[in-house]
Symmetry: C2
Subunit: 142 residues, 2 copies
């Protein structure tokens, strides 16, 4: 319920309407059975309870949430975007073979860009992606 409530509150704060479609999308994110769903994943999930929801609505809603900073967008080289309802600072561990993606909760205090290396950028955030092979893929032939 935590995520859903947070998102509903955010909608109120932005004077946006709380529609059943949005509610179900939030619940799908909440259910976290998959932690890094694609738009299509959410669509399939919500469809089970709201069979007439449109894929466009899912895309719209996810885009809005990202815009409001309530959802993190994760881009790997998969050809599609994944969404991460966990906006806490954390990192990722990616299987290069099957695409499995896990969260890593460690703080790396040494990751900071010295002022003389920012090239004038204002740095607001950073993320680490660890690449490797997951246990399942290690077993398989190759």
């Amino acid at each position: 319920m935590i995520i859903e409530q947070k998102l509903v509150a955010a909608l109120r704060g932005h004077k946006m309407k709380i529609t059943p479609q949005r509610r179900f999308i939030f619940q799908a994110l909440e259910r976290g059975m998959y932690r890094h769903p694609t738009a299509e994943d959410i669509f399939r999930d919500v469809r089970q309870t709201l069979p007439d929801i449109s894929l466009t609505t899912v895309y719209n809603t996810l885009r809005e949430l990202v815009g409001m900073g309530l959802l993190r967008q994760v881009d790997l080289g998969e050809g599609m975007t994944r969404f991460d309802p966990n906006t806490d600072l954390h990192h990722h561990l990616l299987c290069m073979r099957c695409g499995r993606l896990e969260d890593i909760y460690i703080r790396f205090p040494c990751i900071a860009l010295p002022a003389d290396q920012t090239q004038g950028f204002t740095v607001t955030n950073h993320q680490v992606i660890f690449e490797g092979i997951c246990p399942d893929c290690q077993i398989q032939p190759a």
Copy 2:
């Protein structure tokens, strides 16, 4: 010449043919006027000297190079893939507003995944993406 030679040698090693198309693609990567080109960027560049090259060939070649580990693939949320001829371990600094991407050459010795956090993965690599706003975009209204 360094990159081109390295790539040509790699082709030989893999018993692949050294075609003019591939050579010009290597040279375009070499020219590094743009350090993180898209397939389209390379296509436009090579076209100036080889007007009949096909976009498909560019995609094929880039894909092969990535597969051989000679080119790094960089995926941001831009809807297209960028390629980085620099395979040295380095990190990136990304402007969230205009997509400008710069290299960061610092080693962060503290970035290592403790054995009890790998979830069984064999970790082979990692990269850091710093997100922020570039100097040009800071000036502009918003």
